[in-house]
């Protein structure tokens, strides 16, 4: 898809993990080492495009503390969530995708509240309602019917290490989300974070109801089959 849009894409196999799970569990020394490794792997890239909003949020919001402001800002300015890159950098919200299905959008928290991929429901005042970046891309997909979800931007309950340390609470929040998604009438739930989607898909596998999880990239790359 990115090549169709005129990009030259390279993948450096030295990349592993941005360090997010270490930041959020307080393993700071490990987080610093992984952030350094991450920064050096991507040092030469004009743009770093990542199909995970929470990883991008880690680079943009947490690296200053791990690497120092200068290095972090330089990297953050070149790092983009996939949809953000397409809309803001490539300047299009129509990637020529075809996906004739009913879809609900899971507005993953870090993408929503830390990257601004949508408009958080908490934000009030007289700001004009504008369509978020991820939603704009979905509206540009031929045949896709976007369904609205109650409590649209409530957390799915994944929370990384939270889902391991607090399994019952994580599942409670996740089941409520799954129910809201099912009630939306969608056959698929999509989003910018594979981790949130995996959590929901694993709950769906146990509960036996709810829409199937599919990553935003899969929809944007789709030509009609599913």
């Amino acid at each position: 898809m990115l090549e169709r849009l005129g990009c030259t894409v390279s993948f450096d196999p030295r990349q592993t993990c941005c360090g997010q799970p270490f930041v959020t569990t307080g393993a700071r020394a490990e987080a610093v080492r992984l952030a350094r490794a991450h920064a050096s792997v991507f040092a030469g890239a004009a743009a770093v495009v990542c199909p995970s909003a929470s990883c991008v949020a880690t680079v943009r919001r947490r690296y200053a503390d791990l690497l120092g402001a200068d290095q972090a800002e330089a990297l953050a300015a070149r790092t983009f969530e996939l949809g953000e890159f397409i809309v803001l950098r490539l300047g299009t919200s129509d990637v020529g995708a075809v996906f004739p299905h009913r879809v609900a959008l899971l507005e993953s928290c870090h993408g929503l509240r830390e990257l601004g991929l949508g408009r958080p429901s908490e934000q009030l005042g007289s700001v004009v309602d504008e369509v978020g970046i991820t939603e704009r891309l979905l509206r540009g997909v031929t045949g896709l019917e976007l369904r609205s979800v109650s409590r649209r931007d409530e957390c799915c309950g994944f929370g990384g290490a939270f889902s391991v340390g607090f399994p019952e609470l994580s599942a409670r929040i996740g089941r409520d989300k799954l129910r809201a998604l099912a009630e939306s009438g969608a056959s698929f739930v999509t989003g910018t974070d594979a981790s949130c989607l995996l959590h929901l898909d694993a709950l769906r596998a146990r509960e036996g109801f709810g829409p199937r999880a599919i990553h935003l990239a899969e929809i944007l790359a789709s030509r009609g089959g599913a």
Binding site: E30, P120, L124, S126, C155, G174, A205
Partner: protein, 457 residues
């Protein structure tokens, strides 16, 4: 620690209708906040202003406190300083004891909950009656509050009907909120008229005038301050703001953020005692100075205790307040607990969050709550040996791309075994509520390599 909160949530707020109604009742407050905020076009600007005003007040807290003391004293109040919870409890008890006060009416104060004032006084033979309806409900049920502004939010009206039938003059089976409230009102009126003293919390204290500001919806604090000859007001030192002009901003934000009201029903500004009565103001530190000295976390002292972060928190709504094991639950409780809570278990509360950031997004004074939770995790949350070793191993794998590749391949190989439930399975916490989906068969980098090779041909 984390497991303890998860387990307590299961015990104290088991899945079922009670959990559903708790989540719905609390989320309704969040929705009321949204509606009230939308009706105030300047809402986001007010938040920015409030944040700056609180930062300024805290940066000049020393001077503000001294000015408050001087002005309040000049107005006829007596100002006391309590270094910690035992000091507050002792000062209040001595004031009551010296005047032979046996019966006290009290209005809402999270500070006195934090310090355990009620049990302290009760064990010394003083009758303390909480006069906020929700507070009275949990007091009659021998429970602490489960929410900082809605103390009995975990109770249904059936619960309250049964409690009042047992404790008050109410027929069994009564569940009508108006009749239950009327019964509480009659019951409390007698206590108000017979009280020797009133204890209140304080929402704001104004340095330039020596004024304390008490906000309620029921007028219970106002009645308490107006009837008995002794009024003791307890406040944390962080509540002092320099100017009365800023109060307008905070009051507009407080009620809207808390319950979605444009303004609370009663807002009383008290400067000095009423004629013939005494006013004592106890300023309490209890760890706040330490927090003030902490560059990373001092902004948490700006909290105006509206409860909006609890209402929006997906974890609080599914866990209930008691699961936290600390007087102040929810995101703000988890941020304050490491500094003010005192125990190891409470130092672990910053883990009780998905870091969704909704708390930071609703906070009327824009405290960066979820950022603070992350910061506490790195500095103050106790990490066990197991966590430390696991982090080291995981990092060692991530730092070596070749090892990472092998580990990924190995993970796909053992996937079928990990997906099954067996004792000692590292995936156990996940498998309790979930079933692991099938893995995709190949990793991204394997598919990428195949793709590049295909393109080369």
């Amino acid at each position: 620690m984390s497991a303890a909160l998860d387990r307590r949530a299961l015990e104290l707020l088991p899945a079922g209708p009670r959990l559903v109604s708790h989540d719905a009742a609390v989320f309704a407050l969040r929705e009321k906040r949204d509606a009230a905020g939308r009706s105030e076009p300047d809402f986001e600007r007010l938040r920015d202003y409030a944040r700056e005003a609180k930062a300024h007040a805290l940066d000049h807290l020393d001077g503000n406190l001294e000015r408050f003391e001087a002005r309040a004293t000049a107005a006829g109040a007596v100002v006391h300083w309590a270094e910690d919870a035992p000091a507050l409890n002792r000062i209040v008890h001595e004031l009551l004891d010296a005047r032979g006060a046996r019966s006290v009416v009290k209005s809402k104060s999270m500070l006195t909950e934090e310090c355990g004032l009620n049990p302290y006084l009760e064990s010394r033979g003083i009758e303390v009656v909480d006069t906020d309806l929700g507070e009275r409900i949990v007091q009659l049920g021998h429970e602490p509050p489960s929410h900082i502004i809605m103390p009995a939010i975990h109770r249904t009206r059936e619960d309250i009907g049964a409690l009042f039938a047992r404790e008050l003059d109410v027929p069994a089976g009564e569940t009508d909120p108006a009749r239950l409230t009327e019964a509480a009102r009659r019951h409390l009126r007698g206590h108000f008229l017979g009280a020797d003293a009133a204890i209140t919390g304080v929402n704001f204290a104004v340095a330039e005038s020596g004024t304390i500001v008490v906000v309620t919806n029921e007028g219970n604090a106002d009645l308490g301050m107006s009837l008995p000859p002794l009024h003791i007001a307890c406040l944390g030192i962080e509540k002092v703001i320099p100017r009365v002009a800023d109060l307008a901003v905070f009051l507009r934000l407080l009620a809207r953020s808390a319950t979605g009201q444009p303004i609370s029903v009663y807002t009383s500004l008290v400067t000095g005692p009423r004629p013939g009565a005494e006013l004592h103001v106890v300023l309490v530190d209890n760890g706040r100075t330490r927090l003030l000295a902490d560059e990373q976390h001092r902004r948490a002292l700006g909290c105006i205790r509206c409860g909006a972060c609890l209402n929006t928190c997906p974890v609080y709504r599914r866990a209930g307040g008691y699961a936290y094991g600390y007087a102040i639950p929810g995101p703000i409780g988890a941020v304050l607990a490491p500094a003010l809570g005192g125990t190891d278990e409470r130092r672990g509360l910053p883990l009780a969050s998905t870091l969704c950031g909704s708390c930071s997004a609703v906070c009327p004074v824009k405290i960066d709550l979820h950022e603070q939770l992350i910061a506490w995790r790195a500095t103050d949350v106790p990490r066990g040996r197991r966590e430390r070793v696991l982090a080291r191993i995981a990092a060692a794998v991530f730092e070596r791309p070749a090892l990472y590749r092998i580990a990924g391949r190995a993970a796909r190989w053992v996937w079928p075994a990990v997906s099954r439930r067996w004792p000692g399975n590292p995936a156990s916490p996940w498998l309790a509520a979930r079933a692991l989906p099938a893995h995709p068969g190949a990793s991204f980098r394997e598919r990428w390599r195949a793709c590049v090779r295909g393109a080369d041909r």
